[in-house]
Amino acid sequence: MEDRELETMLNDVTSEKSNRREFLKRAAACGISFSSFGVVGLILPKEMEAKAELVPYDWDKHRWVYLVDVEKCIGCGACARACRTENSVPEGMYRTWIERYEIPAEGETAVDSPGGGEQGFGPGLQGREIPKAFFVPKLCNHCAETPCTQVCPVGASYSTNDGAVLVDQERCIGCGYCVQACPYGSRFINPETHTADKCTWCYHRVSKGLKPACVEICPVGARIFGDRKNPNDPVNEILATQKVHLLQPELLTKPQCYYRGLDMEVR
């Protein structure tokens, strides 16, 4: 009885050994294959021919930036409405929105954004002295060191040469990693397409020489869009001569949306 048990045990051990050998063989093969991947990538640069002529707009001649003048915003919500129409953003989702900050003399700061501020704002805090209050339009910061594209497992999120951060709607699998990775809450999963969605700086307009819809529609000039590579663009003078700030600069994401007159309460 004991002998037989011993025999089976030995058999188990040997078969385990042979399995291990098999496994090691396969692992080595895989290792070699993967290390050769880089070489294969170089040997077969499929469709790498210059197709630039298909893109008449030269994106290397532009570097777009966005500037929000907090001191001018009146919280009318025209930008959010225009964004929805221009980009067919589904109801309840926002590529841009407006936040209201009310900082009372005593007590906690109140922040609200009813319906993204799309239909304007109601009365706000009542019966208290509010020495400081303002609106802050928010949108994707189109970070130069963007955390959202880094986490995309399928390469659906990318930065264009002129600075816009976009999502490939065909390639996105809707996993939502980028939604979590964005520290500004600028991304959402579109309930109609089930892909990640975000502000594109109206790339279809900008690349045709137009302003983004929110900038076009803003009645008080609180939203400014400009080109860093065009020395005559007024945005360069504002950035060079005025005091501007970034949202959460400590995260080192290098946002390309600047805020003029930003309060420290805003995150």
């Binding site: 070699i32 050769s36 499929k46 893109v55 129409t85 805090l125 390469g155 065909e170």
Partner: protein, 161 residues
């Protein structure tokens, strides 16, 4: 095979070599099947996606297009305090009105005080310098009639005041 032959262990090398070739071929095939055509055109993403974004239709056209037919309104509008306010802010995007140069639908005319008050209702968070009113107080002060379109009794939205 002669046990003293120098090639007696060569089969191990051949097996490894065979596995290597199979591995490379598998990757080549997978790359061909799974990788989108325009991948890597501009960077590690599908280049076609950029063109897809660029091809999206534009909705908001700007004031210049409006002036082609409505020059009288645009002229008055440009001379007034509402000059920085885009026509399309109150009336909606031009593409809902004109398509391929043809008139397709009337623009909405929002004769409602709610449209005005989205900008001009007094709110603590609005900049002090921006013209704002408390509606009830303003109507009382101006001895107007409270109603859904009371603003228009005195103000022309194209050129207010």
């Amino acid at each position: 095979m002669d046990p003293n032959s120098p090639l007696k262990h060569a089969k191990h090398v051949f097996r490894a070599g065979f596995l290597f070739v199979v591995g490379v071929l598998t990757l080549v095939v997978l790359r061909y099947v799974l990788q989108p055509d325009t991948w890597g055109e501009f960077g590690p993403y599908r280049g076609e996606s950029v063109r897809e974004y660029r091809a999206l239709p534009v909705q908001y056209g700007g004031v210049d297009g409006c002036a082609e037919c409505h020059d009288d309104h645009v002229e008055m509008h440009r001379a007034g305090l509402h000059q920085p306010v885009s026509c399309e802010l109150c009336h909606g995007p031009v593409t809902q009105h004109i398509a391929d140069g043809e008139h397709i639908a009337e623009m909405p005319i929002r004769r409602s005080s709610a449209t005005c008050l989205r900008c001009h209702e007094r709110l603590t968070a609005r900049p002090e310098s921006f013209p704002q009113i408390v509606r009830a107080e303003h109507i009382e002060e101006m001895e107007g009639e409270p109603g859904p379109a009371s603003c228009f009794e005195c103000h022309d939205p194209h050129s207010p005041i």
